[in-house]
């Protein structure tokens, strides 16, 4: 019978070549863990060619918790595998959390690279965009802080306190690498307070382009997505509830994945 002895080997007794007791305990656990690995959704084979004939061609992927009205959303991601092949002036890639109010207005915070309507970020930067009051969407990059690969970012958007009869949305993005947070507070009016929340990736090709799709590592991995169920001055990451249901958009070539929900990119729009 194998016995466990004090030994520098973590595996236990190796004198007689028998399976040590601790090994007998570890192997089933490892097998179970390996099974979990196989159960996780894997990256799908994806179309490798993206094209635009001069209009605005979008590829878009999203997963979201649409089962209930939410007042906020937050999620982690790791900026590890973005390859931007397209000339910066000809397109963009984004990862963001989205708060879509029931009125159809929306606010987003995340990370982006490339060009949106004439202004460029040549490296990945914190990114903010909103569409309120029927206006064309407006966006901003936080320049001066290029996000390096491996940075474990966090982005969130939520409805904060009300003032003067209007609600305010707050969006916040983090870069642990720089140890910074960037927040934007905006008056979103009297009717925008709750809606549906999602995590998205987006790629756009704005000028005539036909080539390899830019790569997010085929899917962008997002962790710990949370939503909030009431307007609060607190951030979703501290008061949020993990998603209970997921909805996805389905199509290639881009995809976004959270631990229990997997969606892939949908072509929409175009020229």
């Amino acid at each position: 019978m194998a016995t466990l002895e004090a030994t520098p080997h973590a595996w236990g007794n190796d004198k007689d070549g028998s399976v040590p007791t601790i090994g007998l305990l570890i192997i089933p656990l490892l097998l179970i863990s390996a099974a979990f690995l196989f159960l996780q959704p894997q990256p799908v084979a994806a179309a490798s060619q993206c094209s635009s004939n001069g209009g605005y061609t979008y590829y878009y992927a999203a997963v979201g918790d649409t089962g209930s009205s939410a007042y906020g959303v937050g999620a982690n991601t790791t900026m590890s595998s973005w390859t931007f092949n397209t000339p910066v002036s000809e397109g963009h890639q984004l990862w963001y959390v989205d708060m879509s109010y029931s009125t159809g207005n929306w606010v987003q915070m995340g990370y982006g690279i490339g060009t949106l309507d004439g202004t460029s970020a040549s490296s990945i930067e914190l990114y903010y965009e909103y569409g309120i009051g029927g206006s064309e969407p407006y966006y901003a990059f936080l320049s001066g802080y290029p996000i390096p690969a491996g940075d474990h970012g966090y982005a969130e958007v939520w409805t904060t306190s009300q003032s003067g009869g209007d609600w305010y949305a707050e969006a916040k993005g983090y870069s642990p690498y720089y140890s910074i947070s960037w927040s934007i507070t905006e008056n979103v009016g009297s009717s925008n307070k709750e809606g549906t929340v999602s995590i998205s990736t987006e790629a756009e090709y704005a000028t005539p382009y036909s080539g390899n799709c830019d790569v997010y590592g085929q899917y962008n991995y997002s962790r710990l997505p949370v939503y909030t169920t009431s307007a609060s001055t607190s951030e979703p990451k501290s008061v949020g509830t993990l998603w209970s249901t997921c909805s996805t958009y389905n199509n290639a070539p881009y995809s976004v994945y959270v631990p229990y929900c997997y969606g892939s990119g949908e072509f929409w729009g175009g020229s």
């Binding site: 159809g104 407006y138 901003a140």
Partner: protein, 254 residues
């Protein structure tokens, strides 16, 4: 049970790698790393031409009558006069109660009775609305929404309009020392116009069209917009005609 030790080590090592991958994939972000302070930051807002559609979950819509909505909120509503929208058979199909009355203390410490309702207006050419059956994705794809909300008597109409039009505030915080710098960021071009109707100030976006205004005497904030931001259901002039009549009704109490 006996086995070869090298094989065992290889097996356990490979499975250990697998388990590490699993755990790595579900770990929270690592703790903050020493920062490299960037040289500068800028937060100019620029308009974007297009944006993805929101991820929505269509659900059956249940609307109230005007009378029942007034009973729920316990206050008289200003009913939009769809006749001023002109031809096209505009009609109010119902009222959604976005927020039932509740006492609310806002960021300024003012406590008031808050509520919000939304009038849903469609054209005769829109899909017929069946209460409790028509999906939100159908109804709100071709509807005008007029929302009315209580206001806490903090700001007058002009102040309220300026507050809504104010550009976003941006703050950059260095987490390692708590230092923070904030600024009001500028939009490359504001979509809003400020239009005065009597003593009511209307924030109007002609291209949407969209309108936001507070009627002081009615203690109410009103927004007029096309649901979902899509479709051309009314012109800017039609929207302003609707705003004019609501301001008149709210001012005179008629």
């Amino acid at each position: 049970m006996k086995t070869d030790r090298k094989n065992l080590l290889a097996l356990t090592a490979s499975l250990a790698a697998a388990i590490l991958l699993v755990f790595a994939s579900i770990q929270a972000p690592s703790s903050m790393q020493p920062g490299i302070v960037g040289s500068s930051s800028s937060t100019q807002i620029t308009s974007d031409i297009a944006s993805p559609p929101p991820l929505t979950n269509p659900s059956p819509v249940v609307l109230n009558t005007v009378a029942s909505a007034e009973a729920i909120v316990g206050a008289p509503l200003i009913v939009p006069n769809t006749a001023v929208l002109g031809g096209g058979g505009y009609q109010i199909v119902g009222v959604q109660v976005g927020m039932r009355p509740q006492n609310y203390t806002d960021a300024n410490g003012v406590t008031y009775r808050d509520w919000e309702v939304e009038f849903v207006i469609t054209k005769s050419s829109s899909p017929a609305f069946v209460n409790g059956s028509t999906l939100s994705s159908v109804l709100y794809n071709s509807a005008i929404i007029v929302s009315e909300a209580a206001e806490p008597n903090e700001l007058n109409s002009h102040e309220s309009a300026l507050s809504f039009m104010a550009p976003p505030t941006s703050c950059l915080t260095h987490l390692n020392n708590g230092s923070q710098s904030c600024s009001t960021i500028s939009e490359s071009s504001s979509p809003y116009h400020l239009v005065q109707v009597g003593n009511t100030y209307v924030v109007a976006n002609p291209s949407a069209p969209f309108a936001y205004f507070q009627i002081d005497s009615a203690r109410m904030i009103i927004e007029i917009e096309t649901a979902g931001g899509g479709g051309v259901l009314m012109s800017y002039q039609q929207m302003m005609n609707l705003a004019d009549t609501m301001i008149s009704s709210g001012t005179t109490g008629s």
